[in-house]
């Protein structure tokens, strides 16, 4: 027995004060390392939102800045004075050939000039750029008329228009897309992350094993949540940086306040994920359920499409989506440069939502399954 005692003192396990802090740090390190090495996590939280931004920015952003592609059938005199920044002109031998080009999406509008009548055929294939092209052609015709009239009657005053962009150009598509996509990115990494983690714990029993170490469950959960919060902040920083540098997003002086907003949102989305993880038994089930929840939530949140342009029922439903509040708050603070005081209602709703869902997850969760 004495040999045993000696051996015990050799490998002494006297534990200094602050063990809780040390346990937290080692758990944080272990879980953080695991996160960084999991390629699917990096994809979902960092790359997927960036891919969405590229995709949506090119869908919503191209039509109104690029020059309209016009097919002139025969001789179209009015196009002689066209600004090459606004129009690129091709010619076609007859109308049928021109219409075929419209169908293929190779042109935005076809034009035939028949004496004093300019006939415009906007593209139906790409109706937005078709409408833009036809609007530009109309104003080109107006300009030509104005010149002719002014030359004929130089004493008659005429009205002229000068277009200024609202918000100093802040409503470029990227300005409303970026906060929405960021809110969505934070939502999916929170929901999918938490649901997947819970299902993993059910399978690999890591949580049970850790409950039998001197570290408490609270320390472990704290470390796990901290990893997710750090991830959300990094995700936000990377996303906003890419949006600003690569896509011309103009960041306001209040942009830093996106951090507390994203952290608050992450709490709400993690709580949703915990509820899902409590119900699902397998990883595919967790992913499926997460989709089922985040898709409608994103759809009605105004994240990808302005709520003001959405049908009334979508606007009503949006009040139930936490993404709506995160999106609105991010937009106000990051894009419009409003102070945090202006988004207090959104913060209140998000916080209330987070607390409510956290309560639900606490009540419904079966710790026995872990």
């Amino acid at each position: 027995m004495s040999a045993v005692t000696e051996q015990r003192t050799e490998t002494s396990r006297d534990v200094p004060a602050g063990t809780r802090g040390r346990a937290f740090l080692s758990l944080f390190k272990a879980l953080g390392r695991g996160w960084i090495r999991d390629r699917s996590q990096i994809f979902f939280t960092i790359l997927l939102p960036l891919m969405f931004m590229v995709l949506l920015a090119s869908v919503f952003g191209s039509g109104d800045t690029a020059a309209s592609r016009i097919v002139a059938v025969g001789d179209v005199a009015v196009l002689d004075g066209a600004d090459p920044d606004e129009f690129t002109v091709e010619s076609a031998s007859d109308l049928d050939a021109a219409l075929a080009m419209l169908r293929e999406g190779d042109a935005d509008a076809a034009v035939v000039q028949d004496g004093s009548t300019v006939r415009i055929y906007p593209s139906a294939t790409n109706s937005t750029s078709g409408a833009i092209a036809s609007g530009r052609l109309s104003s080109l015709v107006d300009d030509v008329n104005l010149e002719v009239l002014s030359a004929a009657a130089p004493d008659v005053p005429v009205l002229a228009t000068d277009v200024e962009e609202a918000d100093g150009g802040a409503l470029q598509p990227i300005q409303y897309l970026a906060p929405g996509i960021l809110a969505w990115g934070v939502a999916i990494s929170g929901v999918f992350g938490a649901a997947g983690t819970i299902v993993d714990w059910k399978r690999d029993k890591l949580m049970r094993r850790l409950r039998l170490t001197p570290a408490s469950v609270g320390t472990f959960l704290g470390a796990k949540i901290s990893v997710n919060l750090v991830v959300a902040v990094v995700q936000t920083a990377v996303f906003l940086a890419v949006a600003a540098v690569g896509f011309g997003l103009r960041l306001s002086a209040w942009t830093w306040f996106a951090v507390p907003l994203v952290l608050l949102g992450t709490f709400a989305f993690l709580a949703i994920g915990v509820v899902i993880g409590g119900i699902a038994q397998t990883s595919p089930a967790a992913a499926g359920l997460s989709n089922l929840v985040t898709m409608p939530m994103a759809f009605v949140s105004g994240a990808f499409y302005p709520l003001a342009l959405s049908p009334q029922w979508v606007q009503w439903l949006s009040y139930a989506s936490p993404m709506r509040y995160l999106n609105e708050a991010l937009q106000s603070v990051v894009v419009y440069g409003e102070s945090p005081a202006a988004v207090l209602p959104q913060i209140g709703f998000l916080a209330a939502f987070a607390v409510l869902v956290a309560l639900v997850s606490w009540k419904t969760f079966k710790f026995d399954e872990l």
Binding site: T11, P16, S26, A30, R33, G34, D204, K205, R208, P214
Partner: protein
């Protein structure tokens, strides 16, 4: 000094929607002394894991009392868990970590020195795999890492839940040596298993468990002795005539089947000497009673572990 474990009248019923009520643990009591190697032997579904989880403090029993090193395992206390080492039935690891990082994390959680982690990897023979990802380890290597993690905090009391299940025979023997060494260092070891030979080879005392109850507790030798079963001696038929068989079977029984003659005797030495002098040792097999016979005797049904 308190016993390492004292368990009184544990009961636990699972209520599932599909499975209905399962009485997994149905009035279990036992006591494990310090320094002892204690085994819980039973077929799958006997309730071994549930019992162990209740004793460890992972599950709350419906009723009954548990004392671990003199105190209740519930609620969680760092002072108690620091003295325990646990290997769960399924290996539980942090995802995407290497072997060294894995045990390093456990070492930190137990407040053990870094050197201790390396020492334990060495002990279980995983030192050369230190930089391998845990998910790449074979089943046996994962079990050994799991045991290393259980030992890294220098525990007084070690729980091992079927550590050798699904291992090949060689890996199983290696793990037996390791478990013996753990116990020889003075640690109390509680092992569950459904391998008879394992319980027989390792345990000071064995509790035979079936259908949620502990049927009997004794040392493997004590069980066999109490069973007082005859030794079975088998030789190929055709070497002895019927008269000689009857003569040799005088102090026991003899039967002929499938080209063999089977003697059951209380005096195997005398019988074997006689067979040797007759030169009738072809196809000889001697089988003394083992825990398998004990199980049959104790539970009234055939072993099908």
């Amino acid at each position: 000094m308190d016993a390492a474990i004292e368990v009184a009248d544990l009961r636990k019923t699972y209520r599932g929607r599909r499975t209905g009520e399962v009485r997994a643990v149905d009035g279990v009591s036992f006591r494990v002394e310090r320094g002892e190697f204690f085994g819980i032997l039973g077929p799958n579904g006997a309730g071994k894991t549930t019992t162990l989880e209740i004793v460890e403090g992972l599950r709350k029993p419906d009723s009954g009392d548990v004392r671990l090193l003199g105190r209740s395992p519930w609620p969680h206390s760092p002072e108690l868990t620091r003295r325990l080492g646990v290997q769960l039935q399924a290996s539980a690891f942090f995802e995407f970590l290497t072997v060294a990082e894995q045990i390093g994390t456990f070492a930190e959680l137990y407040g053990a020195a870094k050197a201790r982690a390396a020492e334990m990897l060495d002990l279980v023979g995983l030192a050369e795999h230190a930089n391998m990802r845990c998910e790449k380890l074979s089943g046996g290597q994962q079990q050994r890492l799991s045991i290393a993690c259980a030992l890294v905090g220098d525990p007084e009391l070690v729980f091992l839940d079927e550590p050798t299940a699904a291992l090949d025979p060689q890996a199983r023997r290696n793990l037996w040596d390791l478990m013996r060494a753990i116990n020889d260092e003075g640690r109390t070891v509680v092992l569950t298993t459904h391998y008879m030979e394992e319980a027989e080879a390792l345990c000071d005392r064995v509790a035979i468990m079936d259908a949620g109850r502990i049927k009997a507790v004794d040392s493997p030798a004590g069980f066999v002795r109490k069973l007082d079963a005859p030794t079975r001696v088998t030789v190929a038929a055709g070497q002895l005539d019927d008269a000689r068989i009857a003569e040799l079977a005088l102090d026991g029984t003899a039967s002929t089947a499938d080209g063999t003659v089977v003697f059951e005797t209380r005096d195997p030495r005398k019988l074997l000497t006689a067979l040797a002098s007759d030169g009738a040792l072809e196809g000889l097999a001697v089988r003394t009673a083992n825990l398998e016979d004990v199980f049959l005797h104790v539970t009234g049904r055939e072993w099908r572990g």
